[in-house]
Amino acid sequence: MKAAQKVFSWSRVLAVLAKEFIQMRRDRLTFAMMVGIPIAQLVLFGYAINTDPRHLPTLIEMGDSGPATRSLIQGLKNSGYFDIQGVIGHDGAGAALASGRTMFVVSIPPLFEEKLARGERPQVMLDIDASDPVAAGAGAGAMPGIVQQALKPFAAPGDIPVETVIHRRFNPAGRTAVNIVPGLLGVILTMTMVLITAIAITRETERGTLEALLTSPAQPLEVMIGKITPYVAVGFIQTAVMLAGARLLFAVPFLGNPLAFLVAVSLFILVNLSIGFLFSTMARTQMQAMQMTIFIFLPSILLSGFMFPFYGMPVWAQAIGQVLPTTHFIRAVRAVMLKGAGFGEVWANLWPLMAILAVIATLALRRYRRTLD
């Protein structure tokens, strides 16, 4: 005979608890998330993300050369804010900034050494890509002090040797919305396109409907095109909504070539759909597909330059960022919308998207064929 049933039994609680642990351990993806995400977040937020970015790419326009100029450039280098990457010709500043190749252009005017020696206070100009106010702010704030310090030996004591002129391009008012909103387009497309595709295809596997599709005369390619096309349309609708919102709510300008924008958006949607498709070939359940999406979504937010200045991150984090499609897309969109870029400037961001698309699509198709068997 068994004892009378207790109202509350710890051994029953233990039974459920033990079962839960077994299931948790069996579901590797969930387990990976539980362990991996805190570690990844810790590393990313601790090391990679830097709201006081240093070592930002800088080009010098050399109108003159001499000991004072050398001292000035050395001063910029030593400050830690500027990473001098080379010299640029006259009038090249605009294109270099618009393409995102550099964040700062320091212009030394002609006859700089002479004027300095005569105490005429020549102008040193700093052109900034201010579309990201955070990244721009640090360099802009430090610049005048660095210049005065570097040129002190060339001026009379107590005199201010040069005038530093700072020219904030693309976002003179330093509004963060101007920078965030175009980036948000990239993040939203990443999240929805990858997730929707991965789930829509995994659902067919999970519910057994894929088997029926495969027994019908429909070819795998026909099924794939038919399934993915509606989500391309969804992506374009999202883009239109975001653009309208950016314009009407946040007064974000659209200065560049709409066709270049359209090409970038189309490429990016395709890349994300193929990532979703790849995930769907690996996930057995919709839940797993969702978890996989988080693994691409988190780095896309944190390492793409969306939330934190890209060049403020350590080199290894930048390397991860470079293989994320969102990084290149956000650059392209910011260039077109805020900097008035066309195909010429955006090409540097388009070809990486194409390369990523080629790699992911090949992988996805290969895995898809295998799952059919």
Binding site: R207, G208, T209, E211, A212, L213, L214, T215, S216, P217, A218, D373
Partner: protein, 305 residues
């Protein structure tokens, strides 16, 4: 006259190191109902999938509807109706939408007319605009059969179509299958139910990837070579215990209020049941399909486990 809709030989399939189907031969005559029996996990579904070109065999080959199962799966798919074991239509589409979708996949002309005809033929009208997910098992199964038959396939492959369906719906379903066969459609159906197996023209029994028996349904009992006695009355459980494993007795199985005692050696079996005549009704019985299969399954485990 004896045209075979399925003619395969030596079909073999391995998943990793495990051989799931091993040297499987089969011929299905046109217009016949071929029952496909075997325990769970015996390779029935894998075999069916190979025979309709969905799965490439690792060895062996053959034809379905005259097309090569390895190289012409596209031709085969267009001409067969395959009802999967799991319900595989869209639960978030209505009955009509599901049928229309399948009709489009098969590029049927006059989709509307064909779907309407199917709704009538399979008596799906009352639920035509209901979501498939809300239907009960019997309705789902009828809808699946309608979907699998929309393009008038010459061969129906039904993978455990009646699993989880109530007895009345099962009966109704088998009448429909019989109708199809009368119209010249060949049917290959896998099942666990003996009352369904009896209705087939031919039966193949497969266990652990191998075919154990393949014969006209009427000859199965004879093929197995069992003799059976029926014992009724008294404490049958005690009898069951005493006879299990007794000399001459290969199998003791309970059928309702009776025990069926079977063995291959008729004389030894008669001697074994003799002592029970005093307290029980003991009579000779015809070996049924169920005894035959329980026997085969028991032997299969010994041979292949």
């Amino acid at each position: 006259m004896t045209e075979n809709v399925i003619d395969v030989a030596g079909l073999t399939k391995k998943f990793g190191a495990k051989t799931v189907v091993d040297g499987f031969d089969m011929k299905v005559p046109k217009g016949s109902i071929y029952g496909f029996l075997g325990p769970n996990g015996s390779g029935k579904t894998t075999t069916i999938r190979m025979m309709c070109g969905l799965l490439k065999p690792d060895g062996g080959g053959g034809t379905a509807l005259g097309y090569d199962i390895v190289t012409q799966s596209r031709e085969i798919k267009a001409r067969i109706g395959y009802m999967t074991q799991r319900f595989s239509l869209y639960e978030d589409l209505t009955v009509t939408e599901n049928l229309a979708f399948v009709a489009r996949l098969h590029e049927i002309n006059d989709i509307k007319g064909r779907v309407a005809a199917a709704l009538d033929e399979y008596e799906l009208r009352p639920r035509a605009n209901q979501l498939a997910g809300q239907l009960s098992g019997g309705w789902k199964q009828r809808m699946s059969l309608a979907a699998a038959s929309l393009h008038d396939p010459q061969l129906l492959l039904l993978d455990e179509p009646t699993a989880g369906v109530d007895p009345k719906a099962r009966r109704d379903f088998w009448e429909r299958i019989r109708d199809k066969a009368d119209k010249g459609v060949s049917v290959l159906v896998s099942t666990h139910y003996m009352d369904e197996a009896v209705q087939c023209d031919y039966i193949a029994f497969i266990a652990y990837g191998r075919k154990l028996i393949d014969a006209p349904a009427a000859d199965i009992a004879k093929e197995v070579g069992l003799h059976t006695w029926r014992i009724e009355g008294g404490n049958l459980h005690a009898v069951y215990k005493q006879l299990s494993g007794a000399p001459g007795v290969d199998q003791v199985a309970r059928f309702g209020a009776a025990l069926h005692v079977s063995g291959r050696d008729a004389a030894a079996l008669a001697r074994a049941v003799e002592p029970f005549r005093a307290d029980h009704d003991v009579m000779e019985a015809k070996t049924g399909m169920e005894e035959a299969f329980i026997y085969l399954m028991g032997g299969a485990e010994d041979n292949f486990k």
